[in-house]
Symmetry: C2
Subunit: 403 residues, 2 copies
């Protein structure tokens, strides 16, 4: 299959590109490289050093004997996006190329507007390019479980069968997202459902949970193939942050009561889910939604899981309940379906002490690179704020730049 990976320089885009390339698919990697610039702006950095996209691709060719094509492109450049799709005529595009941090979207009006502009308009530009130049192409779009929010009823996979005043309809599941970023994904979902219904495109909308872990079969093959690892208050996901806190011996910071329950999955399941979607495309005109996660946890339960994994080695882990910078329910009903990917053959990796241990070991190897001041969440959902650019990070980034 000829497959375009958009956002191929990112945390998940890069492992996904490798996963498809390793299986013999013809991979075209595309990225604007804006993620690395956002790090500079925020004063944040991947804990694990990551190679440049050029070095990554060269190393992959050396290690695997397989070639990945590379294009630098911002999807908002609709002319170049159309030209790329027309030239490649892919069988599938996997679209990771969005600003994907809720805190980033809440820093300031400029950051919120930038997030919705980047995500919505770039993605719309992609839909037009596919419509006009590769209408049979399967669009595999990364959404988020956060689109649903925390409704008081079961979360279904994209659609809800409604009975009302004696009549029935099957409707898009109502959304109630919790950040300007999550809103952008809700908007994308509506645009994509429209593109399938009106223009006859075929698409899979993957409402992904929170990803943890750092390593896939392919990224583990060489240090230059490693993907980024974010633990800070803007880009870090919760389990990764806890693992860093455990490794450096500070309390795990749980926002508020910690009853916030979400769907989670291992990064190895992310790449497998994308593969399963690609290998089983929908019909022309079909818009389908898969909830892409494997287990539900509250953020407090996750902290306790990390504490348990440490205690096996005789280590004590403290848990701090810190003021919640977000506006969200801290105790709520949560029951989200996630059957479709299992039906296609997903064999989930459950969260294990072993996984937690291995992440913490990775952190320990790079412990000198931890920017401690960036761990604290500083973006308040009401007042914004939150760039780091501390003296520590400035010094660190200066050293990095001089290398």
């Amino acid at each position: 299959m000829r497959i375009v990976i958009l956002g191929a320089d990112g945390y998940l885009g890069w492992p996904t590109a490798l996963h498809f390339s390793a299986r013999g698919h013809d991979v075209v990697a595309v990225d604007s490289l804006v993620r690395r610039r956002w790090d500079e702006e925020c004063g944040t950095e991947s804990l694990v050093p990551i190679a440049s996209i050029h070095d990554r691709i060269a190393r992959w060719e050396e290690v695997s004997g397989r070639n990945i094509a590379w294009h630098q492109l911002d999807l908002r450049d609709e002319v170049s996006t159309a030209a790329l799709i027309a030239a490649v005529r892919p069988g599938a595009v996997v679209h990771f190329a969005e600003q994907r941090s809720a805190p980033y979207s809440m820093i300031s009006p400029r950051h919120g507007i930038e997030t919705q502009a980047n995500n919505l308009l770039g993605t719309l530009s992609l839909f037009y390019a596919v419509r006009d130049h590769a209408p049979d192409c399967h669009i595999i779009k990364l959404g988020t479980m956060g689109e649903y929010g925390t409704p008081n009823i079961d979360i279904e996979e994209g659609f809800l069968d409604v009975e009302h005043n004696g009549r029935r309809d099957r409707m898009l599941y109502p959304k109630r997202p919790g950040s300007v970023y999550h809103l952008s994904k809700v908007h994308d979902s509506h645009n994509l459902e429209f593109a399938c219904r009106i223009w006859g495109l075929r698409a899979t909308d993957l409402n992904q949970g929170v990803v943890y872990g750092i390593s896939t079969d392919e990224t583990a093959l060489h240090a230059d193939l490693t993907t980024r690892f974010d633990y800070d208050g803007i880009w870090g996901t919760v389990l990764n942050r806890y693992c860093v806190q455990a490794a450096i011996g500070v309390p795990l910071s749980v926002f508020g009561k910690g009853g916030q329950t979400r769907g989670f999955l291992d990064i190895r399941d992310t790449v497998r889910c994308i593969e399963l979607a690609a290998l089983n495309p929908p019909a022309a005109g079909e818009y389908r939604v898969f909830n892409q996660f494997t287990e539900q946890f509250s953020v407090l339960e996750l902290a306790e899981r990390v504490g348990h994994a440490r205690s096996v080695h005789g280590l004590e882990t403290a848990i701090d309940h810190v003021p919640n910078p977000r506006r969200e329910a801290e105790a709520h009903y949560y029951n989200a379906k996630h059957q479709h990917l299992l039906d296609l053959g997903l064999e989930p990796h459950s969260l294990s002490d072993t996984l937690i241990d291995s992440v913490i070991q990775t952190v320990e190897q790079h412990v000198g690179r931890v920017l401690r001041d960036t761990i604290e969440a500083r973006v308040d959902w009401q007042r914004g704020g939150g760039l780091y650019r501390t003296e520590e990070s400035a010094r660190h980034l200066e050293v990095a730049a001089s290398r």
Copy 2:
């Protein structure tokens, strides 16, 4: 009340500004004037000549003795938008300032992206300005009944009480819009509900039906106060188009079977509905939705109503079923609630032969200005296309420019 009218140079924004000014409110009129440039681009023009915004405001002061303040502003300029809201500190803002044509949004990828960028980002910029500089201000936002699409269940006012697997929640009504423009309004609604829920803003989302008519008490006072009248295939609404076709003696063009049923209202009810919303603001943090229309008709029924009004005068009117350029159901269930504005005191103007007669009379006064080639709908929902710029319109616009 100090009230900002955004989009105050438009079909409905201008009569709304006059309506509030006439009732003694302190009105600040804001517009980017892009609507007049879009006419130039499309080769379209208001049937009735309209004065410049400066002449309109000067004439209003002369006729009424009341002053309307004027600011030219594009809401996408977030710095200037914030400065305006900070300087005026309005009690309410009425937001008409969006690209409001479904066909325009379907002309090409560029037009679709422009529509979503203009509407979504300008509106988001407004929400931030209100949050940061006038948090008690009541945002009165024009949505559209088209956000709902044509579901097989009753359409409620913004929310749906859902029972599912033995549990209940009150959720945003699921949307299934029919154009890239209608999608932009769905996105706005999600952003606005979020702004109320998370930032504590107060807002009324007015899901308006299709407006007909041309005259309000205030616009009728002087020719310079007239609002625009669009009948063409891009900007025209359906009853206005039928009236032009009847006046020039060509068949009324019904898209396909004509069973497409929508909510409609008289322009005099539009300005009254906005006033009722403004006089009865929601609580801080409340997001409420009113369905703003008064009667349901299918587009074929509307054509038959025009035919009936003409037959009273002994005139025959032919109806043509033309190929439908849109992708939409041409026979469907439609039952939309519209109780909230009635509860606030709206006394609807029903569609009458008299109203149809008066619109046709207005057309007859300006019949020499009808650009016949622009009446035909040229924007195909699949293939796009559809600017006019015919020789006739080019000649006409040239003459207009030389005046």
